[in-house]
Structures are given as C-alpha cells and as structure tokens.
C-alpha cells in the first residue's frame, strides 16, 4: 500500500497540506510506478515529462504533499530534483533559488570567501 495518509486526507475537512492541483500531480505516481517499475528508462522519461510542466515554486509544495501523504518514492524523486537543480550552481544562485539571504557576519563572510577560493582553486571546470 503506497499511501498511508490517503484515507485521512479524504476524511479531513480542512486540508491545507495538499491542494487539488498538487494532488493531481502526486496521486497518479504510484500507479505509474507499479506499471513501469521494472523499466528504469521509461520511468526516467515519465519523470522528465512530469517535471517539464512544474515550476520551481511548485516543487516545495510537491515535497510537502509527498511528505504529508507519506509517499516515499515521490518524496525521494522531488528531493533529488531539488538537489539536481542546485548542483554546480554558485552560492548566489542557490540563495536566490530558495529565497534565502546570507545571515553571516562580515568576519564570517571573509572566512567563507577564503573557503570558496580554496575549493575552486586549481580545479578544472566540470
């Protein structure tokens, strides 16, 4: 049984965790998984197709929905998507992507600059 929380979802009257739009994306996933479980390539294509229509701000809602529905495979997939999205990106890009601001003190920022300089030194671009 893929969903542990589905029954509860339909029982809840005021459910803010999973909006209709998100549910439409997440709920068909387990059936699809079962049908093409053996074929990784097909699953990869399906996932890429799914993500083509997803905006970054929807990703967080998808993650929260998958978490609420206790749907491990979907959660795994969406977290992996976020990790891939920020792979090989600069610190500024990651901050903007998540809407975060640096809360380091000036002294700490200076230390970070040295850390970055060392990490990127003498390393060929990927």
């Amino acid at each position: 049984m893929k969903f542990c929380t589905v029954k509860q979802y339909f029982d809840d009257e005021n459910n803010n965790n999973v909006t209709n739009g998100i549910a439409t994306t997440v709920i068909p996933l387990p059936n699809k998984h079962l049908k093409i479980k053996a074929n990784n390539k097909e699953m990869e294509q399906y996932e890429q197709e799914l993500l083509r229509n997803v905006m970054p701000q929807e990703l967080t809602k998808l993650i929260l929905a998958a978490n609420y529905l206790n749907f491990k495979e979907a959660l795994d997939f969406f977290c992996r998507t976020v990790a891939n999205a920020i792979q090989n990106k600069s610190v500024d890009y990651v901050r903007k992507f998540f809407g975060l601001e640096s809360d380091f003190e000036p002294g700490e920022e200076e230390k970070l600059c040295k850390e970055f300089a060392w990490s990127f030194e003498g390393v060929d671009e990927d």
Partner: protein
C-alpha cells in the same frame, strides 16, 4: 547511486522565475527535508572537482552551514577532504589518502595536491603550497592555503616548517593551537556567552612536532634515519580505540598539553615495499621514507607497524605522499618538506 543530472530550471529563465518566488515557501520546508537534499549533494559530489558544491552549499546561510557541517564527516571517518579544515584533521583510519607534491625549483615552492587519478600525477586537487625562505641561521617553509599568496602575513597562512642551519632538526609550527577534540558550541543563543568565557589565544605559531635526521653507517650514500615526535598527538591515539585531536574550524581555542607524546620513526624502506595504489613506482632516492609509530616502551605491537606516512620520488620534481590517521595533510606535508631540506645527504 548517483543522482541523475537533470536541470529543472535553465539559467537564462532562472532570474525571472526567482523574482516571482514566494520566500515563505522554502523557508517553511521542514528541516528534515532540507537535510535530505543536502545529504544527496554530499553523497553525489564525493570527489573533486564536484565536491566544491558541498562547500558552496555550506556558504548559503547559517542554517545550511550547520546542517552541512553536521552531514559532512571528517577525513578520518569518510576518507574525503571537503573543507579547508580537513587538511588539519587526521587522515582516514584504514587506508592511505593519496597525494602528490610538485616542486618548482626556480621559485623554491612546493605544491601539495590530492590525487584524483591513480594512474597519473597530473590530475589533482590543490591542497597546500609551501615556499622556502632561507635565513642566516635557519630555513623556513611557509605553508599556505593559497598558491598565489604564500607568506606569513597572508590570511591563508596555516603554519610553517623551520629547519636548523644544518638541516638536521626541524620543528613544525601550526598557526592555530591543536584542538583537544572539544567542539565549539555553535548554538546561537549561547554564542555571545562563549565569546566572553572562552579564553582567547592570540594567533601565532604553536610547535606541534619535532623532526630529526641522522645518517646511518653508510653516511650520505644510505637512507637517513628520521625521528618524528608529534607534540600535538597523544600516544593513546595510535592504540586501539584511541583518538587524535581534531580541529573543527579555523578558530582560536585553548591549548592542551598531553602527558605522553607519540614517537614516529622511519622504517628502512625498499621501493617495492611501498603500499600504494599508485601506478608510479618510486625511483630510488634517499628522500624516500615510510613513517611508522614507535612505542615508548620499545615493545612494538601490530599497531606500530602501520605505515602512517610514505613519501617517494616518482619523477624529476614529482613526489607521492600518502598519509593516514593519526596525522593530518598539513602535518604530513610539513614532514615531507623536511626531507627536501636535509643537507647531510644528496640525491
């Protein structure tokens, strides 16, 4: 399993999308899910150059840094070098970390790299640089995190090796005191209190090891005998269940002294005894050595035959350096530099 590379957001459209992003959405992401994402990055970016992404994620904001620092294990546990502080932490327990050193004779500079490819010493991640500074009564090797700025006044200065005039006795100095292994509390609410209570030690040079060389009966034609006393590592570190001090940040802390200091001695070495996955076999050189722990009481157990550091010439100006627990990359590099300087023997 490596994450499949897939870009949800293309760079060019990213900025427009980002401006429209609701800030509260990601800020409400449960910590356990953020941790899941960062764990994936640590796992998939496990070698250099991609490992720089782990360092980048640790620079996003305080929360990310705390999570990433908690996820990333020290070299002793993971066998991986991640942050610059990894160079001051003991190497892996059960395997040698393979590095190589390139010498630039004209600028009297030495560069330490982490080997990325067993088959060649061309592929490496830069770790440390050292520049030789000769003085009337001694020689200093200044060690820095920045290959372009290797000077004592530099903010990337990490320590130095000082030799006596004859090149027979050396001292390794660390720019910061060795840590006793007690982690600095990172909790925000007590940060101010820690500042007031923790005694500050001014930055300087802390002697952490002494190295001495002796000729053997063959004189300058034979291998030198090297003795290395690590002031910063207790004898118990090399015994079963022992731990070595591990610095956790480039911070200041209190200095601990240890009652009993481990003593490393060089093993007489044959080039075919090099335990290494390097495909380059060292060429014969009096500079080559292997360092093992030597017990106080003279009774050597199996833990005392474990090679902690080995150094071998593989080319005109290229040397392999393999090290493991309980010494750090910085300590290993400094010990190897002493082998370049001894004037009592020639190549």
């Amino acid at each position: 399993m490596r994450s499949r590379s897939h870009r949800v957001v293309q760079d060019s459209s990213a900025v427009a999308t980002i401006d429209a992003l609701e800030q509260s959405c990601w800020a409400n992401l449960p910590p356990v899910l953020l941790r899941d994402v960062l764990i994936r990055i640590d796992t998939s970016e496990d070698t250099w150059p991609p490992r720089k992404n782990v360092v980048a994620c640790a620079g996003v904001c305080r929360n990310w840094r705390e999570v990433m620092k908690e996820i990333v294990k020290s070299p002793e546990v993971s066998g991986k070098l991640t942050f610059p502080i990894s160079l001051k932490q003991p190497g892996p327990r059960d395997s040698l970390l393979q590095c190589f050193i390139k010498r630039n004779r004209s600028s009297q500079t030495y560069y330490l790299y982490l080997g990325l490819n067993q088959a060649s010493t061309d592929d490496g991640k830069f770790l440390l640089a050292a520049r030789k500074c000769r003085r009337p009564t001694h020689t200093d090797y200044i060690i820095s995190l920045n290959s372009d700025d290797v000077s004592k006044g530099s903010s990337t200065y990490v320590g130095k090796l000082r030799s006596n005039f004859l090149g027979t006795k050396f001292t390794i100095f660390d720019a910061q005191p060795p840590h006793a292994g007690v982690k600095v509390t990172k909790c925000r609410s007590t940060r101010l209190i820690n500042r007031q209570v923790t005694p500050k030690v001014p930055p300087g040079n802390y002697s952490i090891a002494h190295i001495s060389y002796e000729l053997n009966v063959l004189g300058s034609r034979g291998p030198r005998r090297m003795h290395c006393v690590m002031d910063a590592i207790p004898n118990s570190a090399v015994e079963p269940g022992g731990v070595a001090p591990t610095q956790t940040e480039f911070l200041l802390g209190s200095v601990d002294s240890f009652p009993s200091l481990p003593f490393f001695r060089s093993k007489s070495i044959r080039t075919d005894s090099f335990r290494s996955r390097h495909s380059s076999i060292p060429v014969a050189s009096v500079k080559n050595f292997q360092l093992v722990a030597s017990p106080d009481n003279g009774v050597a157990g199996p833990e005392h035959e474990n090679v902690i550091l080995q150094f071998g010439k593989v080319g005109k100006d290229v040397f392999t350096m393999d090290y493991q627990y309980p010494i750090s990359a910085f300590q290993a590099f400094a010990i190897c530099l002493s082998s370049f300087d001894t004037k009592i023997a020639c190549e």
